[in-house]
Amino acid sequence: MGGATPCASCKLLRRRCAKDCIFAPYFPPDDPHRFAIVHKVFGASNISKMLQEIPIHQRADAVSSLVYEANARVRDPVYGCVGAISYLQNQVAQLQMQLAVAQAEILCIQIQQDPAVLPSPSQFVDEPLVAVDDKSFLLHNHQYFNFQPNPGNVTHESLKRESFFGHDMVS
């Protein structure tokens, strides 16, 4: 990629594209937008530093994820990728609620068809009436963060699995 045809990064930065240019494999000259957008958000020197710290076989994936994040940040200058994460977490929560409803419906139908299915009162002590598996949001905890994308909206209590930073990002 180096030599006669400078890569997209060296073209944008107006410098000679060395043979061992760290950007060249990932920012071909035929896609100048790709480098332009990561440069706008992260800056060329930060990208170079990041790539140097990553094994070569993982750099392509790293660049792809940086491009994705940069695009998200340009599209949504306030929330960037975090807006997408919040939206997806909402979707997961809704799906798991629907899952719990479906499980409850099955149990209701089974009880109607055969009242013997209904557990005896002594079983309530150890088992819930609604048989939900451990993947349902009722028992399952996911937390990436507790984020309020739009001020004034009800804060979405994200599902909790793992607390990344252990603090609440509501501003």
Binding site: F42, S45, M50, V82, I85, L95, L99, I106, I109
Partner: protein
Amino acid sequence: MSSSATGTSRCAACRNQRRRCPTDCIFSPHFPSTDPERFDAVHRIYGASKVAKMLEEIPPEMRGPAANALHFEAKCRIRDPVYGCVGIISTLNEEIRDTGTELAKLRARVAFLASGAQERQLGQDYTIVDDHWTEQQQIGNVVL
């Protein structure tokens, strides 16, 4: 957290950059000196000037959420240098796909069980009619 022009309470950004913290410092409301790690993270990934530029392009009332989001993304990137917060998006997409599949299966089961319940109910109704016919025959009435 406001900063003072005398520099006695500089924000985390100005401390990091070793400069005076002006009263209108764009960083100081969002990167207080009490949390130096917060600015360190964004500085490491984006750099001070990029962060300043991004914040300047956003209305003041939205800079808080923007700073939070930048901090979150920076922490994700530090934690996972290859995928950053895109790894979380991937995981969530997988979870949505798996949960959606499970939900579709459960709904199919609900439909199946519900249709079975209807048939059983119809079967009971026919039994009542049959009992009625049998009774009429015993009485001697001809029921057509």
